[in-house]
């Protein structure tokens, strides 16, 4: 009981580290086949890596360069006109460190899908602002938290943290204890009250 509820941050690879002889657990997905996926595969071919579904939620994994054309195609031809969210996740043990996720919804089909792509550190994906205007602040937040810069974004700067903040908080190597000591010392001249 005490071990499971230890409050210190556990590195995510520990789950695989405990079970060294067993392979790390992966998501139990099922393949997703529909006319939408066949249209997409016909149009984009090799650039769509997989179409999967987990717990009834469909998503497809694409190559990084193909994401904006896919979003464009989905908006114009498949009526996915509402970009719900742009977010990312950090997997530092993978060579392609970040998982960039776009959640889309179509009003007419009443269907929600996700478009995922894996990008390495330092890669600058194309911005989705030209396709969906809502991506403006959402991508700024992804940049602020993860450091993923979007090429072609009109206003790529930090949104939630002060402009002169160093570090990208939601990366796994950003310590939770670190917090705001450096910024408070520099800008306010006092010790942070953490």
């Amino acid at each position: 009981m005490a071990d499971e509820q230890k409050p210190q941050p556990k590195p995510p690879a520990a789950a695989a580290g405990h079970a060294a002889p067993k392979p790390p657990a992966v998501m139990a997905t099922t393949p997703w086949e529909s006319d939408l996926t066949s249209q997409l595969k016909e149009h984009f071919g090799e650039q769509i890596l997989e179409c999967l579904s987990y717990l009834g939620q469909e998503f497809l994994i694409a190559k990084p360069e193909a994401v904006i054309p896919i979003l464009d195609y989905l908006k114009l031809d498949a009526d996915f006109d509402y970009l719900v969210d742009v977010t990312a996740a950090d997997y530092p043990n993978r060579p392609e460190r970040f998982d960039l996720i776009y959640v889309l919804y179509s009003f007419s089909r009443n269907q929600r899908i996700r478009v995922k792509t894996r990008i390495p550190d330092g890669f600058k994906p194309q911005t989705a602002v030209t396709v969906h205007a809502t991506a403006n602040w959402l991508e700024r937040e992804v940049f602020d938290m993860f450091g993923i810069e979007f090429a072609g974004h009109p206003d790529m700067k930090r949104i939630l943290l002060p402009e002169d903040w160093q570090g990208y908080p939601l990366r796994k190597d950003y310590g939770i204890i670190q917090q705001d000591e450096r910024w408070v010392k520099e800008n306010l001249g006092i010790d942070s009250a953490q």
Binding site: E4, A133, T134
Partner: protein
């Protein structure tokens, strides 16, 4: 090239700073003005950023639930509902029927409370100083019900993963029915105070127009989308927690201006009372908690679950790596995405209209900044 002096400039940059009575929290809006007309705005946010998503990666699933209330602190029950639904989806369990009906009742009460606060503060910003007292008095009744049920008024932590923690207290149904009975005449009273009032109408009509394509392009959801004419509500489109059993309407209007959003929210409050009346009629008996293990370790996977919060579509994207702590918790905040449309709506408006527009978007900075 001759140097421009300040006498040549026609554009004034004015800071509507983080400390401002009408910005609903710590929101900084930099206005570029030409006299009193607004040419452009720029929002600076992040004054209330507390790193909730990073905290989520370092707490267990049950421990994270109190943090979630503190994002949209005005309507904390919805946040809790969204989070519990997302984790329950990851675990592939469904809450007990008694818990589902109670969740619907509390969430709709919470929607009324949020809209009442919105109405009071919006009217206050525009200049109508009376409604705020009346709406807060009604809100007291709702908060009393929350307090009697779960022990806290604002940051309720009322739902647990799998159901509820507390049994309904004796007199819950009577309290809720008494509230519903008293609420409708009070809503008529607010309408009497405001809807026909010429000052109110002229302050709000034509201000902050956002039509349906712009709403969809900017990802704006909630009452703003419905006021623009799109009849879409997640409670009807992708129902959760038993909403498909209840009969209610989705109020929509055509023009998408501030007055329409006011009407839509007033109608939504009435529809919420209707849902509560239906739900409280027969609360099924039975256990309040589904079979959920004490130590929650969902299988590896990710889900995105969203609910219709009072402000819009509140979504939770949770990635689990099989351990007791989530790997990534992403909250898709409705106020953050709706606030982007401020620039679009405020172009060409007057400064006083900017205040009305910020009020009508119904932002809560706790949610914008998380």
């Amino acid at each position: 090239m001759p140097e421009a002096t300040f006498l040549d400039a026609t554009e004034l940059v004015l800071n509507m700073g983080p400390q401002h009575p009408s910005t609903h929290g710590v929101l900084r809006v930099i206005l570029k003005l030409d006299g009193e007309k607004v040419n452009g705005t720029e929002c600076v946010i992040g004054y209330l950023h507390r790193g909730v998503e990073k905290i989520g990666e370092n707490r267990t699933y049950q421990m994270f639930a109190p943090y979630v209330d503190r994002m949209d602190y005005v309507a904390a029950v919805s946040n809790g509902l969204g989070y519990c639904l997302a984790v329950e989806k990851l675990l592939n369990v469904e809450a007990a029927p008694r818990a589902q009906v109670t969740r619907v009742i509390l969430t709709e009460l919470n929607r009324i409370a949020s809209h009442l606060l919105w109405l009071g503060t919006h009217a206050l910003d525009i200049g109508a100083l009376t409604p705020v007292f009346y709406t807060f008095r009604e809100r007291e009744e709702i908060l009393n019900i929350f307090e009697k049920y779960c022990g806290a008024r604002l940051t309720t932590h009322s739902f647990r993963i799998g159901g509820l923690q507390y049994e309904l207290y004796d007199g819950f149904e009577d309290d809720v029915k008494a509230f519903c009975k008293a609420a409708l005449p009070k809503m008529d009273e607010y309408e009497e105070l405001l809807t026909a009032n010429r000052i109110w109408v002229s302050r709000l009509t034509g201000v902050g127009v956002l039509n349906a394509e712009d709403c969809k392009a900017y990802g704006v959801t909630g009452p703003m989308l419905r006021a623009a004419g799109v009849k879409w509500d997640i409670r009807k489109a992708l129902p959760y927690s038993g909403y498909e059993k209840y009969d209610f309407e989705i109020p929509t209007r055509q023009d998408g201006d501030t007055f329409d959003r006011y009407i839509v929210r007033m109608q939504e409050m009435r529809q919420s009372v209707r849902i509560i009346r239906q739900a409280v009629e027969d609360i099924p008996s039975g256990p309040i908690m589904a079979k959920v293990p004490k130590v929650i370790k969902p299988p590896v996977g990710e889900v995105y679950v969203s609910i219709e919060a009072p402000k819009g579509e509140l979504g939770y994207f949770i990635v689990s790596d099989g351990s007791t702590q989530p790997y990534r918790v992403r909250v898709r905040p409705p106020s953050f995405v709706n606030l982007q449309a401020l620039d679009r709506m405020a172009k060409g408006a007057l400064i006083a209209d900017v205040v009305a527009i910020i009020g009508t978007i119904d932002i809560v900075l706790g949610e914008v900044d998380r």
